[in-house]
Symmetry: C2
Subunit: 182 residues, 2 copies
């Protein structure tokens, strides 16, 4: 139900169309909660069915403008204060690390160095974005700054970790092959 509440949260800042919300999603929420166009339009219709938003205006080009209702605001607040966040954090890149021992050490090391490079680049991207954003405008952006700071710290430690881990490979030595050889 996170997409649903993501949309409600954006609508607190004012009425918007699905198209508007999609653009905002892509620029801001996408790194913590990506959503496709399909999913977003579907969810808006369901929110309207449930009375958490209303179509407050129909503009040109079939545009439907949605406004959050009091019920929607209540639901958002309930979500924020009473529902435990889902702590499940799937991490494809980290899953692979478990199995690096099945590769030659050179390749395992290459994998970790690539990870380091990716995180370092991403950190720089976030730093640039933080610098170029006007943090004054709107509640939403003010808290967005906290989120981007978390992203920067995350990318930084992951980069550091990957560099350290790449160094550890030499000490771990060659793979032990069970079942097949031995």
């Amino acid at each position: 139900m996170s997409l649903r509440h993501g949309l409600l949260g954006l609508l607190v800042d004012g009425p918007a169309s699905g198209y508007d919300l999609l653009k905002i999603f892509e620029q801001s929420l996408a790194f913590v909660w990506p959503a496709t166009q399909s999913q977003l339009y579907g969810e808006l219709n369901r929110l309207a069915d449930d009375g958490l938003v209303v179509v407050s205006d129909e503009g040109q080009r079939r545009r439907k403008e949605y406004t959050i209702t009091p019920a929607g605001r209540a639901d958002l607040e309930h979500w924020l204060t009473d529902i435990e966040p889902n702590r499940i954090r799937r991490n494809d890149a980290m899953l692979r690390v478990f199995f690096l021992g099945t590769l030659e050490p050179v390749q395992a090391k290459a994998y970790l160095e690539r990870e380091a490079a990716v995180h370092e680049a991403f950190e720089q991207l976030l730093i640039d974005q933080a610098r170029d954003t006007n943090w004054e405008a709107g509640t939403f952006n003010r808290y967005g700054r906290l989120v981007i700071e978390s992203g920067i710290r995350y990318a930084h430690t992951q980069g550091e970790w990957a560099r350290w881990a790449a160094g550890e490979i030499d000490e771990l030595g060659p793979p032990t092959k069970r079942s097949g050889a031995s």
Copy 2:
């Protein structure tokens, strides 16, 4: 396709049943890639259909022991070296931070302090687990140590971030309510 390759990776360490693999998943891979019993048994059958594993033995109590095939090993290696990891990291807890401005500052602060506490507790849990594990046994565990170290660093920085963010709330001031009030 991560569950699939997680299973293949575990089977490199030797033949195992679905039941065995489920236990290993729960203890080790679960924090980076949780899987349910249902999903796991289903995927093993699909792996067998695709010739990446074979049923090498049928034991008591309907137990089926799976062994990875050369094709399975090749597929695992291909995944590890040629396929870019999926970088999408959905984060329910962080999504909420975008919308903390819709709450009273006291509540926003409470949310972040709770986050800090959760991460600090989790960090301690991982530190204890790292201390109590025998890191000598098997390739798998040796790389598992790198993963757990990453978890410790992640939990640590997230905890630090949440404490810092809680402190920032005072400076961000009261929420600006658009659409409804104003």
